[in-house]
Every structure is written in structure tokens, then in C-alpha cells.
Symmetry: D2
Subunit: 160 residues, 4 copies
């Protein structure tokens, strides 16, 4: 009964970004503050696009943006200070005006020589293409759309 | 097709907190960064509880916490710098180990003398009661649970 | 041997904003993360200006901004979760292109019925007037400059 | 007339961390929000210590912390979205209870094929050793102090 839909298995995603938990990320319970993870999802999203050949900054220069319309996160086990997080992501849907990403964050506990990783969270974000000039929804440029379509994976981890 | 479930109408929630958008909250699109709103949901949650007679800090002093297990947000129309936001919230479910809150954020545009408000987002957060000593799920103290139950409203805005 | 210059005594500043410490503000040491206070200094600055009759958002609408060129903070005693902070501020210098603010943050410990307040930090920020169009330094509009000059207080707390 | 003292030249510091500017880091002026840089200074500090053989998380496990007592930043030229920042840092002082770091942040503009870097800011942070149990100032463990002393550089960039 999670607010987050089922997401792809780890094997169907790519580990697109990694980061160690900073003091800045933690809260008084000694764990990463729940909102802070969204920053790392952004990092994963932009690095996934960059690896696919799409520099988001250049898309904006061309007058298009992909703001979030929805986010859902299911928190599994909290990351703590200095834990080494890996953010895995995939494109799961791309239409001419919308794109959805799914994510899994895993982490290795600071100082854990075994390197065993645990599940931190799973998440999905939905985005709508807008003209940055006025924020109005619009169709993506064709090259962006084709590039995103080429990234879409299905539950088996296959490009579709 | 939002990731956020339907939430209570405004009329069934209470306006529990208000804040003007700071520069710190905005991003380069000139709007509030999507993760920043979660901070204001926290503000609303803690003030809703305080108004109901529950100081969350005292609950923690007693060894109990209510970390998030899930969050879902549907972004409607972005708030901008200096807009006057109001965060409305309600308890929508309370069991002995879990509690869920729903939220609506509205805003009045900075400098808009008409005072017309627009819908910024709607959201839900789910929480699990844990012992702060070890983070293990546990039953809430009876007084907390009774207090939360007394706050639960149904879709018509009635206490249930 | 602090990095922050001497600042005005509390009696020479105005309590311009207040806020309770959120979970979002804390770090794993259970105290407010040092960078988070800068957000509250911004809140104080904008409310000081608003109380003086200058809506910073309107100044930006007119094409002028006051970005920071310098900040210095001396941390005295940390605020903790749910502490009630008061941010005191004053304008200490205003030329046609520069303005400086000083701040003192005090707090009352959460649940402390005595209401005794303690010193959290003192700080100064320096700002330069720029054209928002291109970020170039420029002279302030005369009405803004006169208004800021009218706010300048000296160490005795007198308007100068 | 900066609030930040003179800091070491770039040549006397090490480039200890790098990061691209995220949307999360920017504000409505399209530049990195001034408080956000402090997060990157923390990243640099912890990576400088890690490279020197001191895992800060382990120091905390042993009951010691190094909270900030002072910070001063002089902002030179703002970094923008997707700019590639490099954070340079050095230890400039270490006594048995205090340690100071200096920093320079440089950046290469997003999409700038020339790779030319510009100066973003310079900063200093001062820290005091405390017992994490009660937050009281204390002497550092000898091994930490010796390690920090071994990192101290003077203005010529020599270990002192």
C-alpha cells in the first residue's frame, strides 16, 4: 500500500550517479532528511540524460524544460552520514509531451568493509515538457523525443 | 493519472501554516524548487499536531518518532518568489502504528492586490511510528494515538 | 578572533522574524546545520525591508537586485529542533551601490517554560546593487537608497 | 574590504572535490544560492580529510566532532546551472582544539569548450573540537591533531 508505484528492478536500471551522505543531508535522527533525496534523484536524472547524449542545460538554452508534475517516493531503509549511495535510474515512459523516470537508491554503510549494499528507496517522477519562456506545455523537439524513446526500458530491462 | 492519490477538498482541511517564498526556495526557472515544498509540508504537519495538543518534540523526548515511509506530490501551478503560501493539512488515517496526512498548498501571487489564491500542489505523506532509540516500528503511546484519531477527517470534512 | 566583525548589540536591532527549528534544519548532531541559518538571515533581511516599506520583489520587478558579496557568521550556541528562534537585524551601512546588514539570532529552547533566550549567532552580510538584466553593478534607484539610509543605525542604536 | 580574510592562492590548495551545479542549487537569479556553496565547502573539507587518511565519520564514532565556530565567504563571480565547479581547500591552522580551513571555488561554464575557469568564491571556516556526547570543547585525539598538523600549508604552499 505504498504511494509509489512498482518500479523496475535494479537490474533494469543503470547506476547513473553516486554520492556520499554529507552532514548537510542529515537530520537529527541521524539519517538523510526525506526531502534531500530528491536532490539526488535530480542528479541521477540529469546524468542519465547526459550519458544518453542530452545535456539538459542545452535543451533549456533551446527554450524547453521538463519540470516535475508528480513525484512519489517509498522510503525503505535510511541512509546515514558518510554512507556511499548509488542512484539507479531509467526512463519508463516518453510521449511527445511527457516523460517518466524511475529510481532506486542503494547504499553501502560507511566503514562497512564487506561492501554489502541495502535498499534506501524507490521513486518515480513524471515530467511535462514546457516552453521556458512562458511555462506552457508544449511538444518536445523531435530529437529530444527520439532520444528519450531510445532510453525507455520495460520491466525486463529491455529497451522497448 | 497522478502519482498522488485524491486528497481531501480544501474545505475539509485546516490552513495550518503560512510562509512567503524566499530566494532560498526558488530555482533558476523562477519557481519554488520541487523538493523545497516538502519542508513546508513538514511545517504544516508539526503545526497541525501542535494545534491539536501534541508537541512532536515532546513525543521524541518520550522515545517515539514518526518518520516518513511514503510521500506523493502532484504539482499544479508553481509558486514564485515572495508569493504568500498557505499550507492546509489534515490527518486522514491513524492506526496504532501508522498515520497519514494530506495537504494542499495554495498561494497568492506577490503584489496581487486582489488576493486571489491559486492551487500550488496537493500531497500525501505516510508515517510509521518508531522507537527513536533503534528506529524499530512500534505502537504509538495510547495518548498520541487517541489524539491522532480525534483529528482524522473524512472526505466530507467531518471528524470520523 | 572571529571571522565575523563586531555587530550591533541586540538593543540596536529589531526582532524582524521568528521561526521554529524544523527537522529539515537539523543535522545528525541534533543542531541546526550551519548553512541553514543563512536562509533565516534572508528571511530577516526581506522582512526588515518590507517593514521599512521596500518590497524586495518590487525592486526586482524594477530591474535591480542586491546579491551578497560577503557573509560572515560567528556561531555562539546551537539552536535545536523546535527551538523558537528570533532573528534580529539592522542596516549598518548604505552607499549608492552597497548595503550591509547585521544580525543576531537568539532562541528559546523548546519546552523551556522560563522563556529564557540564548545567543545563537551573530552575522553580517554585504550586498552590491546590480541590474538583474545582466548582473552588472549599478547605482540604486534614489528612493531605495534614501529608504535604506533612513534605516541605518549606529552602535548606540540611533538612526544616523 | 571583504569580510573574508585573504586566503591561500590556488597553487597552495588542492582540488579536493568537484560537482556540477544542480537545479536544486540555483535561485531565481539563475545563479547558485549563496548558502548552497557551504554544502560544497563541507564536501571539500571531508574529502580533504579523507585523502589525508582521516575519515570524519570514524572520528565521530570515537566521540569527537569539529563543528564550525565561524565562516566567512567572499563571492566573486556566480556559478550557474550545469557549470562544473572545483572546490580547492587547505588546512591553514591546527591547534589542539581548533582547526581552520580555506577554500577557493572555481568553475568552468556549462558548454564552454575552451575549459576556461573563473573564480567563484573564496572562504574560510574555523572549527572547534568538541565531545559529541555533550558538545563541550575538548582537545583532539593526538593522532587527529598530528594528522591535521601534517596538512597545514603556508602561503607559499609549503607544508609547515
Amino acid at each position: 500500500m505504498s504511494l509509489c508505484p512498482e518500479v523496475l528492478p535494479l537490474s533494469a536500471m543503470r547506476p547513473v550517479a553516486s554520492a556520499r551522505v554529507l552532514y548537510a543531508d542529515t537530520d537529527k535522527m541521524g539519517i538523510v532528511y526525506h526531502a534531500t533525496y530528491l536532490r539526488y534523484l535530480e542528479l541521477a536524472r540529469v546524468e542519465l540524460l547526459r550519458a544518453a547524449g542530452l545535456a539538459y542545460a542545452r535543451m533549456e538554452d533551446a527554450g524547453f524544460g521538463l519540470p516535475l508534475t508528480d513525484v512519489a517516493v517509498h522510503y525503505e531503509s535510511p541512509a546515514r552520514y558518510d554512507d556511499a549511495m548509488t542512484i539507479h535510474a531509467a526512463v519508463v515512459r516518453a510521449t511527445k509531451v511527457r516523460v517518466s523516470f524511475q529510481y532506486r537508491v542503494t547504499a553501502v554503510r560507511s566503514g562497512d568493509a564487506s561492501g554489502a549494499s541495502f535498499d534506501v528507496l524507490r521513486a518515480q517522477t513524471d515530467h511535462c515538457c514546457v516552453r521556458t519562456a512562458d511555462g506552457r506545455p508544449t511538444r518536445m523537439p523531435d530529437d529530444v523525443w527520439h532520444l528519450l524513446c531510445g532510453q525507455v526500458v520495460d520491466v525486463a530491462g529491455d529497451r522497448v
